[in-house]
Symmetry: C2
Subunit: 340 residues, 2 copies
């Protein structure tokens, strides 16, 4: 490569992102700044959170600036460096962009990784990256399901949800997953070991609530929420007393021009439940600790993290949209280049 | 009295309660059952929660059965007894009904009270009862505002809200209250010592959010929520990172046939906030402890709990509706009879 291809946000999406909201451009490969380095991105994480970053709305991070590349967690190799902490050839995980080359510095999410122990560096974007560890810390540090408790997971066939269900089983919970479509529900049972799978498609809040109630007559002790909207409203009608709700994502409303929220908030009060707004960012200092446990569970065959690897920066738009069509099976990753 | 007047629920309200949803009947004074007693109710608490109990919907208590009296906390005097634990003439606080005489037993919310230290037994329904202690434990045990933190209270001129604001000040917080109308806002400043009062009336979510932002540029560390709906949506746009939200009431939707909930739930996630569904019931064993602190603060002139005492069981309906018209100033209490 002699150029840096960059996938830019050129217009803020109104609702569902359109191809015209983005532009792939070619620029010169950047120089490493004093104290920093340039990384050759090899794999980029595609996540629902990126849709939120495209909006000019108050959130936990500033919005992506217009004409900047789409912000993304990537793994890659140091291409040039003006800091002794990162040497050319080092593998790094960091918050970069959908582009061939990114300028980065030490600190924040940026960390060196040892790819020798994994079959693909992309594992640092799935099982041992923010996505797998979102599931890990959300259960082990926030919700803390106890053996015999009922764990209800929405978006259960997704990257976070499938890991949540499996970790919940490891922790001794009874696990009920909600997903869209018969094929995904079958995967919850066959591939991920959920106890019950519920298909939300084509059902009213009342119908979905009744199906959850049949599967969990005493209510859910823990809800791991990735979806929001009607799915969450049905869950809220099935809370056990003092239920803990990990509010991890609201994918059903990310492409909605209006915020949707929930209607059955009253149930949170009535059941003395707690909603924990949850972001993985603050756990970055504990990634190595959590990643080691995840790696051990995978090595023991107790945890399966699938990846849906799409190829090529030029396919960034259709690849990203797989998140919202429900097409992706496993953690969605965009391959930008082979390792060195 | 030779009869027992009882204010019954005869039809479940659809939206705003109508006079025809209730009926005042006369029955014989009940006999004390074995192991129980009959209390002559003197004061009854009128609370927004009673509106929820009228609906046939899942909640923290069963709905009031049709043709039963409206469930209410009361203070009264033991009229007859078949238990050595409660003697005729004892003053008791308990969960009874809007009626002259109620059958009760030991346990649950039922407790003997010492009315010699208060100017009116009704204080056990306000400052030293569930309402005052809702404010007390919601702050001291759930939200725990720290000195210098910003506390945002909705329904701030109400019985719970005005106590929350004052206790927040005692705990060292900066206190912002939201109330309906200029007169109530003035009372927040003059009578209850709030730092800022914001009138929500006639304002859009965006306008109200902007006013809160002007008063709390760094966001609210603690939100004490009594209202829900648009008011809560405006508050959610002004959360400090890791804000704690005490979800105590949603009075704005109690008369709505449809649940309303919130739209800006995303902000809870983005700010890593926590929503605590909060009921005072579980704190019943600690009422004496909290009531002693409240009594001390009142004696020191640091805490003012106003009561709005309406007179007569025959006025139960118009008295109750004062809660929803915003007419009540202070804790709404219905006087049923003088003490013995």
């Amino acid at each position: 490569m002699t150029v840096n291809r960059r996938f830019l946000l050129v217009r803020r999406p109104h609702g569902t992102p359109l191809p015209e909201d983005f532009r792939l451009v070619e620029e010169a490969i950047p120089e490493a700044p004093e104290g920093g380095f340039v990384v050759r991105n090899c794999y980029a994480s595609l996540d629902p959170a990126q849709r939120g970053w495209m909006d000019d709305a108050p959130s936990y991070m500033p919005p992506i600036a217009l004409n900047d590349p789409i912000r993304a967690s990537t793994v890659g190799v140091v291409h040039s460096s003006k800091t002794p902490d990162f040497q050319v050839g080092d593998w790094v995980l960091g918050l970069n962009g959908l582009e061939d080359y990114s300028v980065n510095h030490a600190g924040g999410f940026t960390m060196k990784i040892d790819v020798s122990a994994v079959d693909s560096p992309s594992k640092f974007l799935s099982a041992m990256g923010a996505v797998g560890l979102t599931a890990y810390f959300g259960l082990t540090d926030v919700a803390k399901p106890q053996p015999g408790e009922t764990l209800l997971v929405s978006g259960a066939a997704g990257a976070v949800g499938s890991a949540v269900g499996q970790i919940g089983k490891i922790m001794g919970a009874r696990v009920i997953g909600i997903a869209g479509g018969a094929a995904k529900c079958q995967r919850l049972l066959d591939d991920y070991g959920f106890d019950v799978a519920i298909d939300y498609k084509g059902k009213s809040v009342e119908q979905l609530a009744a199906e959850i109630r049949a599967a969990a007559p005493n209510g859910a002790d823990v809800v791991f929420e990735n979806v929001g909207g009607d799915v969450m409203d049905a869950e809220l009608l099935n809370l056990a007393k003092k239920a803990r709700i990990v509010l991890c994502g609201l994918i059903s409303e990310y492409n909605s021009p209006q915020k949707v929220g929930v209607r059955n908030l009253w149930q949170v009060l009535a059941q003395q439940a707690t909603i924990h707004g949850y972001l993985i960012m603050d756990y970055a200092p504990r990634f190595a600790e959590g990643g080691a446990v995840m790696a051990e569970w995978m090595a023991e065959g107790r945890l399966r993290i699938d990846e849906d690897v799409q190829d090529g920066l030029e396919n960034a738009y259709p690849a990203f949209m797989r998140l919202f069509s429900g097409a992706n099976t496993g953690k969605l990753v965009l391959k930008i280049a082979d390792g060195l």
